[in-house]
């Protein structure tokens, strides 16, 4: 199954109003994240690199000392260890995040 069956994948709550569905191989873990309007992923960091894009909706990302309102197709890449935060806009929002190495905590 190379195409991610998002519809049938169980979701995991990462924060209030933030639900992820994950898929992985050996080097990367892909996370399709649904955020309720105005949901917040609080500032945090991890040793894994992270990159991704907004699929629909809008997210205000703060990465290190940079902040940007990201819309569909806007992309970002976060080195390991750099703190970041995400705040959804006033609408249902979906983001694709990719981590390397695989985040073991998101293999569920």
């Amino acid at each position: 199954m190379y195409f991610c069956d998002v519809e049938n994948r169980e979701s995991k709550e990462l924060a209030p109003g933030v639900h992820a569905k994950t898929f992985w191989q050996e080097k990367m873990l892909l996370s399709v994240v649904d955020l309720s309007p105005n949901a917040v992923v609080p500032m945090h960091s991890h040793p894994h690199e992270q990159c991704g894009t907004v699929i629909f909706g809008e997210v205000t990302f703060t990465i290190g000392d940079e902040t940007k309102v990201c819309k569909p197709g806007d992309t970002y890449i976060i080195p390991g260890g750099v703190a970041h935060e995400a705040i959804a806009g006033d609408m249902p929002t979906q983001v694709l995040d990719v981590f390397s190495p695989v985040r073991e905590a998101l293999k569920y």
Copy 2:
């Protein structure tokens, strides 16, 4: 610069009508790929894992022996060494691909 400045990044032609703009850290390389209508990325493989999504437009992906017409937000993950092909739909199309390890040939 954690947010990818796609607008100002020089592009690299991967195949006729297929142009990539790439960004990278240590473990992942992110490639924003514009495909002209009906452009083809011929069947190929590489040892790097690849995952991604469609940003806008439509792509018919064949990965191994699976084929799917992918639309915005549809995601895929390709193990290293598995052959894959992409054919754009009848409209301008943009795809986000992520590779790990970094594909040196795409660091330009």
